[in-house]
Structures are given as C-alpha cells and as structure tokens.
Amino acid sequence: MTLPHREADVTLPKPARKDPHVDLEKLDAAADLMAINMGPQHPSTHGVMRIKLWLDGEMIVKAVPYCGYLHRGVEKLCERLTVVQLTPIVDKHDYVSPMTNEQALNIAFERMLGLEVPRRARYMRTIIAEIQRIASHLLWLGTFTLDIGGTIGGGASLMMYTFREREAILDVFEMLTGARFHYNTHTVGGQRHDVPVGWPAAVKKMIDAVDAHMPEYEQQCYGNDVLVLRTKGVGVIDRELALELGLSGPNLRASGVDLDLRRDEPFSAYDEIKVNVAVATDGDVYARFDVRMREMHESIRIVRELIDSIPEGPICSQKPVKVPFAVKLPAGRQFYTAIETPRGELGTYVIGGGAEKGAAPYRLKFRPPSLHAMSALPYALVGHTVPDVVAILGSLDPILGEVDR
C-alpha cells in the first residue's frame, strides 16, 4: 500500500540562488505580504531562536533568522580561565554531544603543544565519540519526527523509543565518568577516567540493543509515506551553496560533498580504522535525514570493531593536574584545528599566551557547525510553505547553545 512518491512524478527543483537580503519594497507583492514571527520561544526551534517570515499567502518570500538569545559570552570567559579549567565549560556548547566538544578543545591544545596521547586514551576517545554520535542522532531523530508529525502517534511514539535508547547510552557514560550529562572526562594529554570493570560488556549490550531497534526506526521512517512526501525535494541546498555557506558534517554530505574529517584529517584513533562516509546528492531534507540514519549504522559498526581491542597502557601522558596553571600555551602561537562532531566540523582557533602567565588562551574562537547550518535558512526556506519551516530547520539540526555560545 505505497503511495507514489514524489520522486516518481516530479524532478527535484534546482532553484537559482536567491539573495537573502532582498529589499521587500522591490518585490511586486510587497503590499500583500504578511510578516509572522516564529520564536524565540517556539516548541520546534530546539532552543531559543527566532525566524521572521514574510509570507505571500502561504509561501515564504523572505526569511530572516535571529540568534543570540543564548549568548553566554563563553569566548570572553575562556580568556579568563586556564586551559585545564576550560573542559567543563565547553561541555555546555553543543549540549546534545558534550563528549565531542571536550575532545575538540583538548585535541586543539594537544596539537598546539605537540603532546602525545597514549593509544589507550585515543581508542577510548574514538569509542566515546562514536557512542556520542549515536546518542546525538537518536535525539535528533526523535525531535525531527516529532516536528514533522508523520510517524505513529503524531511522532511522539518514535521520540519515546529514541529516548529509551538514549537513556541506555547515558547509563554507559555514567558508568564511565559518574556524570549523566556534562562529563568533564577529557583532559590535556588523555583521559581522566579509566575504563571501569565491565564497561566493554555494558557497551556491547547497549550497542546490541540499539542495533536491534534500528530496523524498527527505519520501518517507521523510510516506510512512512507522509514523512517521505514531506521531506523529498524540500529545502534543497545545492553543492555550491553548501560549500560557500561552510556547512559541514551530515548537512554538507547530504549535498554531495564527500568530506569527513574523521577520514580526511584523522584525529584520535581514526587513522587506524576505516570510516565509510555516507554521502547523498539531493541536498534536500530527505537526503540529510538519510545521511544521518546511515551514519548511525556506521557508528555502531565502529564501536563494535573497537570495543574489544582497547589496548592496555596509561590513559594520560601528563601527570594528574593538581593546580589549574599546570599547562601553559606558548605566547604568539596561533592555531586552527578541527574535528568531526555529530554536527560537523567543530573548529577551534587558539591564540596562546593569555592571562595567568600563558595558562589561559589569549583568544579562543570556536567554529560552531550549527551557526553555519542556521545561516543556510534564508536560502533554504524561500519558496516553501510554513509547515516546511520546521522540517527544514529540524533537518539542519542546529543546537542553539553552540550557535550562540
């Protein structure tokens, strides 16, 4: 009982680039436009953001997103705190995947100082990052289908299922670090918490449970005609625009760019394993959805591959830090480095030699993938209807803590 999908009868539109700064006075229909506001307190914006939409009937003529409702001045705070104190701060950026934030920051400092990371710690980081990717994509899947509302129970049932698996993942992290949410487990030179007894077995049990439920999700999503009809051909971002905007991660790969820093600029233990990169070419909401679903399978495979082969040895190449001034950054050194998080390229631009005799960075700039994803909205929304806004926004998966910092 499948309905004809849109792909069968319509070719995907390839819209010409529209200038998002279009002056409404110049539009013919300007007199009849209606302006509406979504947010900053809107249930489907995943945080506090606001989009101002100008509508011609039901069609969006112009969209202007506003952010900054969660601007916490972290970059200013980072200039006051030392390198060792920064890890728990960056947990709060992308609060759906705190582990990869810590990893990005500490890898930046390690590369700047030229520190070795023991092989055991690198394996642990890779496993943690992949588990975190599954958790992050699960939360995205639950909220995305809830927004679209196409699955059983208006989408709420799938969200309940994904939160069930996410809880299992958080339990595994709690076993490792003692915290459920903000972990503070990475440190400069390695890890803070060693693998506890029974952790690999717990991870394998959790991964098996997630893997066993994946067909259920896929059946609910791929086999759901409402979801497919609402996502195919909607919110197309072509390859050229995606590159220019600086999209990254699944959003970029859905537009046909085969770029994944896990493979192209390996960090942690990714140089020892093979990463199969999921790429789609359509650049629409469905492609971004499809890429994320395939990435979850790949993450499950990587965790299974690594969990049995964690090497023995130390977990940190540095002595345990007693004072916050132990690690100093060289003055006058500047550095950009990035890793691949569930949302894409999380970059860190560090300038060394700040306060506390160099123990604090002079300037720390994060390159948040979500901010670039959000800047695609003025291009992707134009020409669509209001219900498509939540689908497009959900498919770009911005986390506002990371956008605003």
Partner: protein, 156 residues
C-alpha cells in the same frame, strides 16, 4: 593544522605575493601575514584553486602602548583534499577590511558575529548588523578593554 599547500597553488601565490609566499620553504606556522588590501584577492585566488569551503573568520584585539591593533584570520578548506589553510591580516585602530560575502555566502553571518563581538567592520557587507547581542548594545565585548562583568541595567 596548517598543511602544506599543493604545488600549483603555491606557485600561483608566489607569483602574486612573492614577499609573503616565497617559492621555497615553510610558511609561517601561525598563518602567513598578508597585507589587508590583498585580503579579497587572496580569497578569490584560493577559491579558484579549489578552496571552496568557507570555514571561519576570527578577529582579535591586540592593545599595544601605541594604540589598538587588530588581526583578522580567515580559514578556508579544500573539500577534495580535506586540508585547511588560513592567513592573517593586520589592521589599525580603525579596523576595516573587505568582506568576502561576494565569494562566500557564509561570510555573511560570520562577519556579522565578528563585527558584533570584536568591532571589526567589513567594507561592502550587505547587512552589517549585530548578530548575538541586542541592537542597542554598547561596545564590543571581546575587546580587551571591555570588562567581563559590565552591567546592563536593569537585567543585570
């Protein structure tokens, strides 16, 4: 990390800016320092040579006894090799630099953010407004002269 530029790109850069990009030897590991008036041309040349992915722009305030100076670092990435490259431009007390918006649409928001927080202006930007802070905010928080706990009545 700064990875070595491919030979054709290196040759093209050396032909255009021989004092910044010598034909042989390593480049400055902190990012080559390019004259501010070559900022746009360098970005355009790199885009022609495959650096298509706009990564980020970072502005930094350096107060000196002689007066304020600023640095603007721009990062681009080549999607086919996955390697990043960045360069820096030094600016004076009244920081103005050319926008990269005509080349990279993503520069729109990134440059607005740096204008908002650091106060570097981007000439030719179509819509240079504050991005993070309210429109009526005074000052630029990431300048070193800005106190971290500046009050903002009546909310804090």
């Amino acid at each position: 990390m700064m990875s070595p530029l491919p030979a054709p790109v290196r040759a093209a850069l050396a032909a255009r800016w021989p004092e910044v990009f010598p034909a042989e030897g390593d480049l400055d590991p902190n990012g080559p320092l390019v004259p501010a008036d070559s900022h746009y041309d360098l970005a355009a040349l790199l885009k022609e040579h495959g650096y298509l992915l706009y990564v980020t722009v970072v502005a930094t305030h350096f107060p000196t006894p002689e007066g304020d100076t600023f640095e603007v670092a721009t990062v681009l990435r080549n999607p086919s090799t996955g390697k990043a490259f960045w360069w820096r431009c030094k600016l004076g007390a009244d920081p103005v630099i050319a926008t990269l918006f005509p080349l990279f649409a993503g520069a729109d928001w990134q440059e607005r953010e740096q204008f908002d927080l650091v106060g570097v202006r981007f000439a030719g930007h179509p819509d240079l407004r504050r991005l993070m802070l309210p429109e009526d905010w005074e000052g630029h928080p990431l300048r070193k002269s800005y106190a971290i706990d500046t009050p903002h009545a009546p909310w804090r």
